[in-house]
């Protein structure tokens, strides 16, 4: 197997985005770009699955790009999952952007570029590659958030996201630099080797240990920011609310998924030694605390929201809490059997989360046409009666369900009118079909998650 074939998902995304930018320059109808973007994502995902079916990338081929890019089954699993999220998001964009008069080709290019960063992030086995992936991903998303230029909320959200995101990235970079100083290496495996063995690891000088701990804190904070765990979640509701809804879907699915992948790699591989990954002196209690705070706070705030998109944002934060619980389970008290189960469960969860969340945002998109967007619950009142197909959202979120079906709209209140778009229908059908497939016959995807988890670390 040639290395080009092994890297084909990334290459397809890269050449796809270049082609798409060219096509954008010469095409008149931008919504066709959504199809192109979908095909790019689909092709990349298909290549990842194909590589998986061929038994993964052989070790001698993977060694050519290691340790900067790691081509194991874990990477392939995440590549396929991220491409799935990206594919659904680009279909949603194909319906949403023309409807709301935002139809500009850059959106798809930004989305694909950002997805390249996400895949790179999931594959990175070295701190600099990780940082490049992180920045590539984030910059595209910042621009996508600001895409509704006439809307002040969009600008506000984007600015907030950009400032806080840059700050978090700087923290992470600083953490990486400190780690390099302490261990003399930037590869994740190298860091682990430097930290393991002996009471203070093979660190030549135990006085460097505080530096390691400090860098661990910095990196954890940076990653917690990216998956928007409480208390680093402040940007999330504003950015999610301000961004065009397909971008929100992309953020909550792809960005979060990639951040989770890198979090698993960093925490479980680089900081997987006995001292760092321990209940008494390491990161698990911190992550567990973050998880509890995230789940409780986000869910409580989500109850009080009146704006549907903001509610979905808080719900997405709460999901970050569940992911963090999974991360602690993936450590598994150091017991490899328990850890393997926890990792598999976490991977399976991110797959389900991708499908469900993309579907929920898709339903929200479907519920609003130009100028009559579904903003608040009240706007959705009685929608189940007026437009039953759009009431698919009912199956995803409960409080929306109440309003869709059980309330009569208040007289004179602004009401959402569903849009019609083949792209959105297609996205919803895909996510619904996958949802049913994963729900009723989870066996196969679960096996894949188990195999992917095994290849980590």
């Amino acid at each position: 197997m040639s290395i080009w074939f092994a890297l084909s998902p990334l290459l397809i995304l890269t050449f796809g985005v270049l082609g798409l930018m060219l096509a954008d320059a010469f095409s008149k109808r931008h919504s066709d770009l959504a199809l192109g973007s979908f095909i790019t994502f689909f092709g990349a995902g298909l290549m990842a699955i194909g590589l998986w079916i061929m038994g993964g990338v052989p070790a001698e081929v993977a060694a050519k790009v290691a340790p900067w890019i790691i081509l194991d089954k874990f990477t392939l699993f995440f590549t396929a999952t991220l491409c799935l999220g990206g594919a659904i998001s680009s279909l949603l964009a194909g319906g949403y952007l023309p409807e709301h008069d935002l139809d500009r080709g850059e959106f798809y290019a930004l989305m694909l570029l950002s997805a390249i960063g996400a895949v790179l992030l999931a594959a990175a086995g070295e701190i600099l590659a990780l940082f490049i992936g992180l920045e590539t991903m984030s910059l595209g998303v910042y621009a996508m958030t600001a895409f509704r230029r006439t809307n002040p909320r969009s600008a506000e959200g984007a600015l907030k996201y950009f400032l806080l995101g840059s700050f978090a990235a700087a923290l992470m970079l600083y953490g990486g630099a400190l780690l390099y100083g302490a261990t003399g290496t930037t590869t994740l495996v190298g860091i682990r080797d430097a930290l393991t063995g002996g009471q203070f690891g093979s660190l030549r000088d135990p006085s460097r240990l505080p530096t390691v701990v400090l860098s661990m804190v910095f990196i954890l904070v940076g990653l917690a920011f990216k998956i928007s765990a409480v208390p680093f979640h402040m940007w999330t509701p504003d950015a999610y609310q301000g961004a065009p809804t397909p971008a929100t879907a992309f953020m909550s699915v792809v960005v979060k998924g990639a951040a989770l992948a890198t979090m698993m790699r960093v925490m479980l591989v680089a900081f997987g030694d006995k001292a760092s990954a321990s209940w008494s002196s390491g990161w698990p209690p911190v992550v567990a605390g973050l998880a509890i705070a995230t789940m409780v706070v986000a869910n409580l705030i989500a109850i009080r929201q009146e704006n549907v998109k903001r509610m979905l944002a808080y719900s997405s934060i709460a999901h970050a809490g569940y992911l963090l619980v999974g991360l602690v389970a993936a450590w598994g008290q150091g017991d490899p059997a328990v850890a393997a189960e926890g990792r598999a469960a976490l991977l399976f969860y991110i797959l389900q989360y991708t499908v469900t969340t993309a579907g929920a945002f898709g339903a929200l998109i479907l519920c609003g046409s130009r100028g009559r967007e579904a903003v608040t619950y009240e706007g959705l009142s009685g929608l189940g009666r007026r437009h039953p197909a759009a009431a698919l959202a009912a199956y995803y979120y409960l409080r929306v369900l109440v309003h869709l079906y059980m309330r009569e709209p208040a007289p004179g209140a602004p009401q959402a009118i569903p849009m019609r778009s083949g792209y959105v229908y297609a996205a919803l059908l895909i996510s619904a079909a996958l949802l049913l497939y994963f729900g009723i016959m989870p066996g196969r995807s679960l096996e894949m998650a188990v195999a992917a988890a095994k290849s980590l670390g």
Partner: protein, 611 residues
Amino acid sequence: MNTQQAVADNAHALQPLAAFAAKSWPVIAAGAAGALVPRRESRTERFWFAVAAALTVLFVMLLWPDAAKVAEEAVAPAAEGPAYPHLISWLIFIPVIGSAVVLFTPRQATRAVQLVTMLTMAAELGATALLFKVPIQEGKWWLEESVQWIPSWGIKYHVALDGISFWLIVLTSVLTPVAVWVSYGSIHTRLKDFSFAFLMLQGAMVGSLVAIDLFLFYVMWEAMLIPMYVLIGVWGGVDRVKAAIKFFLYTMAGSMLMLVAILWLVFKYKSLAGTPSFDLEDLQRLGLPLAAQKWLFAGFALAFLIKVPMFPVHTWLPDAHTQAPTGGSIILAAVLLKLGSYGYIRFGMGLFPHAAHDAGATLAGVAVVGGIIYGALCALKQNDVKRLVAYSSVSHLGYVMLGIFACNPASMEGSILQMVNHGISTGALFLLVGVIYDRRHTREVGEYGGIAKVMPWFAAVWVIVTFSSIGLPGTNGFIGEWLVISGAFMSHGTLGQWGRSQAIGAAVGVILGAAYMLTVTQKVFYGPLDNPKNKHLPDLTRRESIALAPLIVLIFAIGLFPRVFTEPMHASVAPFIQSFNAKWRAPAPEKPVLAPAPEPAAGAAAAKPVE
């Protein structure tokens, strides 16, 4: 010769006919009586009365243990595999398939939607009828199906049927069509959604009654919640959203604790056996120390007791019932609540015998004081008829739970029979309340009075159902309450010294039950007809009569021929109680242990006692 031949031929041809006549004369007689006795009715109505009467008798005759057949079966037990290997799956999936068909029926074609729904439910009823042909097996599953679902987690699609769940499934299949049929008379908005929700609900209810795998059970248990939530929230009364959310939160809180307990069990099983399993039969081999059993039992029992509901977690029930549409109330009272008591028997007692035994006496006290008596006293003070019936449910479910806690064959059979009885009589009461609510749009007792004069049939049916509800001899309620109370009176082993006083308390509850039901009957139906709005109320419509007919039939069928109904249960209840008693009499182990798997040859014995 020709004539002789012809006569002989005729005789030959007539022979089966004669045999048929000789065998089926009770059916024909009942049909004739049904046609001739009501005088004032039109021909079509008489015809239907005749059919109903004939079918009742036929039903009882089919169930009646045939002496010759029993002897035959005793000599040669059925050696081959079960006659209907996939019947249980059909029972679960017929409604689910029907709901998918409804989903693809145009919304405007309301007749088609109704037709598809009723046909699906008829098919379900037909499949249920096949259940009667399944041979009864003592202490074993009558029917069983087991397929791997998610092997890596030890999750199976394992469904099975025995005498404990048998009548509840029959009850579900009979009452769901009744509830839907009567709802089609009063619900005119969004029939498609309504039918879809009801079919999904039916599938989930049957699914939770037959699930033996705990994961499957949990899935079905949760799947039941959502259609009911929608039914209350969409077609309910004024405060429907609040009631729906209350219902949802209560049930959800309970089932979360159950989920935690299930997972704990599975992980403990895994640590002992090496592989995880959610199967009840596997988990029953787990012997747990008392302290662990108590916590796990608390998790399971809370989920089930909320569903039952038992004091003090019953407060969601009056709200949910009052706000739910008639059909929703019927199915909530008739089947959903029963799943709590059924789950308590199957899982609560099946998995944690020591804890269940220890808690039994205390909980029985709560069931008597907080359920039977307190529920009855609350019912006595209600002005809203539907709320009254809801509190009477709390009271009646107290008997069911008392019978389960007393845990001897009589009381347990009484409990299961009382679950069916309560389903029938309370279902009918909710249906009748719905009838007057549709006419007057109020349920205040004070708004009525003397309406027996304008609605004689309605009054007659109401009085019959009331008698059944307060347990008059000859009706079904009597049998159930009698078995429960006498069982509790004799249960020194389980209820201890308090058994007798609890039986007396339950008997007091019967009197209170008569007090509140007869008071409301007297206030609504008798006395002067002084409210001018009530002067011209129409009597029962044909739709309502057809919905009520099977319930009335069942009230008397169970009341007069109880043995037909308790016999199939007995085959499963007696061995269940035997193994339960054997389990709790053996001391609880100090540390979790795993009993060896039963030999496949002796295998089908469901509950091997843990040594």
